[in-house]
C-alpha cells in the first residue's frame, strides 16, 4: 500500500528538516479531519467492544451483562464454521488472484499495441459494482437458464453449482476474482512499468531467458506491490459480505456464512445486537491481527525502495 511505502519515508525525511518555522502548518490543520474520522471510525471501534458486553435489542437502552455474550461466543459452532469458511475464501482468493494478477499485470506492462487494446477490455469488470457483479453471476449460474445449461462440460456436469457447499465456495472465489483481478493487475502493471529496461537488457546479454528474467528481475522488484495487493486481498477477504449476501445468501443452509454475514444476520435480521457486537469485535481483532502479521512477515518495517541502488 502507498501507506506502507510512505511510512518509511517519514523516518528518513525527519532528520533533514530545516529549522525554519515560517510557512509550516500547526497541528490545528489536522484537527477537523481527525475529529471527523474519530466520530465515524474510532469511536465506533470503542463502541463495538462496549456493546459486546451488553444485551441490546436496538430499541431500548443497552443492558450491561458482562461476559455473557463472550461465553456464548466461545461455545458457538456457527462461529467456528464461519471462521473456517472465511479463512478458506480468504486463502482461496489470494491463491487464485495473486498469480493471475501478477502475470496479467506484467504482460500488460508491455508497450505493444494489441496489449493496450486487450488491457482496456480486461479492465471492464471493474466498472461493475460488487452488487452488480454478484447479481449478474447469480443469474448466469442459474442451473436452468444460465451458462451451466449451455456449457455443462465446464461445470463438471454439476449444473447447480450453488447447491453444494464446495460449489458455492468455488463460485464465491471465482466471482470475486473475476471482479478484482483487473484492479490487482492494474497495480502490478504500474509497478512492472517502473522496472528499469536496462536490467532486462543486461540479463538478456547474460543469456537469461524470458522465464529466468521474470523470476530473477520482475518478481523481486514487485515485492512492495505484492505486499500492497495482498493487504487489499486480506482485508477484502475478511470483510466479504455483499458477494455472499447476493450470490449465495450464506447458503446452502449456513454453509457459506462468512463472519461478516453471520454478524449481519445476528444484528439486523434477528436483532441480537449485543451478541453481534461480540462477533464484530472478533472480526476487528482478526483484521488488525492479520495486517500486523502481514507487516511482520513481509518485513515491511524494514522495507526499502525497490529502486535503491539503481
Amino acid at each position: 500500500m502507498v501507506s506502507l511505502t510512505s511510512a518509511r519515508t517519514v523516518r528518513a525525511a525527519a532528520p533533514s528538516r530545516p529549522p525554519l518555522k515560517t510557512g509550516r502548518p500547526g497541528a490545528g490543520w489536522a484537527i477537523p479531519g481527525l475529529v471527523f474520522f474519530g466520530v465515524f471510525a474510532l469511536l465506533p471501534m470503542a463502541g463495538v467492544v462496549y456493546l459486546s458486553l451488553t444485551s441490546w435489542d436496538g430499541i431500548t437502552a443497552p443492558q450491561f451483562i458482562g461476559w455473557h455474550n463472550w461465553s456464548r461466543f466461545l461455545g458457538d459452532h456457527q462461529i467456528v464454521q464461519s471462521t473456517i469458511v472465511t479463512a478458506i475464501l480468504l486463502l482461496g482468493n489470494i491463491a487464485v488472484q495473486a498469480p493471475i494478477s501478477i502475470l496479467l499485470g506484467v504482460w500488460a506492462a508491455g508497450k505493444q499495441r494489441n496489449r493496450a487494446v486487450l488491457t482496456a477490455i480486461f479492465f471492464l469488470p471493474l466498472l461493475l459494482s460488487t452488487a452488480a457483479t454478484s447479481v449478474m453471476w447469480r443469474q448466469l449460474l442459474d442451473p436452468n437458464f444460465g451458462l451451466p445449461s449451455k456449457m455443462s462440460w465446464l461445470f463438471f456436469g454439476d449444473q447447480n453449482m450453488l447447491g453444494t457447499q464446495a460449489g458455492s465456495i468455488v463460485c464465491l472465489i471465482a466471482v470475486t476474482s473475476w471482479q478484482f483481478v483487473p484492479f490487482h493487475s492494474l497495480l502490478y502493471q504500474g509497478a512492472a512499468r517502473n522496472v528499469p529496461e536496462t536490467l532486462y537488457q543486461a540479463a538478456a546479454l547474460d543469456g537469461a531467458g524470458r522465464a529466468r528474467q521474470f523470476f530473477s528481475i520482475t518478481l523481486p522488484l514487485l515485492r512492495n506491490t505484492i505486499v500492497t495487493s495482498t493487504t487489499f486481498m486480506v482485508v477484502g477477504g475478511l470483510t466479504a459480505f455483499d458477494v455472499v449476501l447476493l450470490l449465495t445468501n450464506g447458503g446452502p443452509g449456513t454453509d457459506t456464512s462468512t463472519l461478516p454475514f453471520t454478524m449481519y444476520q445476528t444484528a439486523f435480521v434477528t436483532y441480537d445486537y449485543g451478541y453481534a457486537a461480540a462477533v464484530a469485535t472478533f472480526l476487528l481483532l482478526l483484521a488488525t491481527g492479520a495486517s500486523l502479521l502481514l507487516v511482520r512477515l513481509t518485513g515491511y518495517t524494514k522495507m526499502t525502495s525497490t529502486q535503491e541502488g539503481l
Binding site: A13, G23, A27, F37, L118, Q139, L246
Partner: protein, 272 residues
C-alpha cells in the same frame, strides 16, 4: 531486441479474454433481448431481436432515481474526503512535533478497521444524529472509511515535493494557507486525483452502509436497488440484467472520457 513470440502469454490471455468476455456478452445480450428469447435459448445465442423493453421496465421502476442518488453520494464523498485529507496530509508532511506524527499513525491504524466490524455502533451514532434514512447517513461513514487510504496517498505525494521549494516559499514569508494553495496542491495533483478516484469508487461500490442506514425509495442507491430487484424481478431475468447494465453506465461514460485519469488514479494506489 527481437524475441521469439510468447505463445504461452498468447494462449493465457486468450483464455482470460474468454473468461471476461463471455459473461459480459451474456449480460449485454440478455439485457437487450426479448424475454422469451432468453427463456428458450439462454444467454449465449446470437442476438436476433433488439429491444429496449427491459430498459423501459427498469426505468419505470424508478431506477434512474437510485442511480442519481449514487452520483450524489459519490460526489459528496469525494468532496468531503479531499476537504479533510488535504489539510491533514499537509500537517503530517510539513508540521512538526509528536502530534502530527501521531496523526499519521492513527490513519495507518485506520486502514485495518473493516467497516463491517463497526457497523453496529455506527448505526447507533447515525440514529442519534437524526441522519437515519438520509443520504448523509451513507455519505459520512463512507467518507470516514475512505480517509486512511486518502491521507496515505496524498501525504505520499506531498513528500515528493522537495524541501527547497518549501524553504523558498518560507523565505518569501508565505503563510501555510498560501503555501498549500499555491504550491502544495498543484504539485501533488496526481496523488490527490488518485485519492479522489479511490473514494469515488468506494462510494460507487458501497453496499453495506446504504443497506443499514437507509430504507425508503427516495434514499435508495443503485447497488441497493439491484438487491431489491433480485426479489422483484425473480421471474424477469432480462430486466434484472438490464438494471445491472444500466448501473454501470455512468462510470462507463467516465471511463470512456477519462480512461487515462481513471487508470492512472487506480494504479497510483499501488505506490512507488
Amino acid at each position: 531486441m527481437k524475441q521469439r513470440p510468447n505463445y504461452f502469454a498468447g494462449l493465457a490471455t486468450f483464455i482470460w479474454l474468454l473468461i471476461i468476455g463471455v459473461p459480459l456478452y451474456a449480460l449485454i445480450n440478455t439485457a437487450i433481448g426479448p424475454q422469451d428469447a432468453y427463456s428458450q435459448n439462454g444467454p449465449l445465442t446470437l442476438p436476433t431481436h433488439f429491444t429496449l423493453s427491459n430498459v423501459t421496465t427498469v426505468i419505470q421502476s424508478g431506477f434512474l432515481g437510485y442511480i442519481w442518488n449514487t452520483i450524489l453520494v459519490s460526489t459528496a464523498t469525494v468532496v468531503l474526503v479531499l476537504a479533510f485529507s488535504i489539510p491533514i496530509s499537509f500537517a503530517v508532511v510539513r508540521g512538526s512535533g509528536w502530534i502530527t506524527r501521531g496523526v499519521f499513525r492513527v490513519f495507518l491504524l485506520g486502514l485495518a478497521i473493516p467497516a463491517q466490524a463497526v457497523i453496529i455502533p455506527l448505526f447507533l451514532i447515525i440514529n442519534q444524529l437524526g441522519l437515519y434514512d438520509t443520504l448523509w447517513g451513507v455519505i459520512l461513514p463512507t467518507a470516514a472509511f475512505s480517509m486512511p487510504v486518502s491521507v496515505l496517498v496524498i501525504s505520499g505525494g506531498m513528500r515528493e515535493i522537495s524541501s527547497e521549494l518549501y524553504e523558498a516559499m518560507a523565505l518569501d514569508g508565505a503563510r501555510p494557507a498560501r503555501v498549500l494553495t499555491t504550491m502544495v496542491i498543484p504539485l501533488s495533483r496526481s496523488s490527490i486525483s488518485t485519492a479522489g478516484v479511490f473514494a469515488a469508487l468506494q462510494a460507487w461500490n458501497g453496499f453495506l452502509f446504504p443497506l443499514i442506514m437507509t430504507q425508503s425509495n427516495s434514499t435508495k442507491v443503485a447497488t441497493l436497488g439491484l438487491y431489491n430487484f433480485v426479489s422483484t424481478y425473480s421471474a424477469n431475468i432480462p430486466a434484472l440484467l438490464a438494471a445491472v447494465l444500466m448501473s454501470a453506465v455512468p462510470i462507463l461514460v467516465v471511463y470512456l472520457f477519462a480512461r487515462r485519469a481513471l487508470v492512472a488514479g487506480l494504479m497510483g494506489a499501488g505506490g512507488k
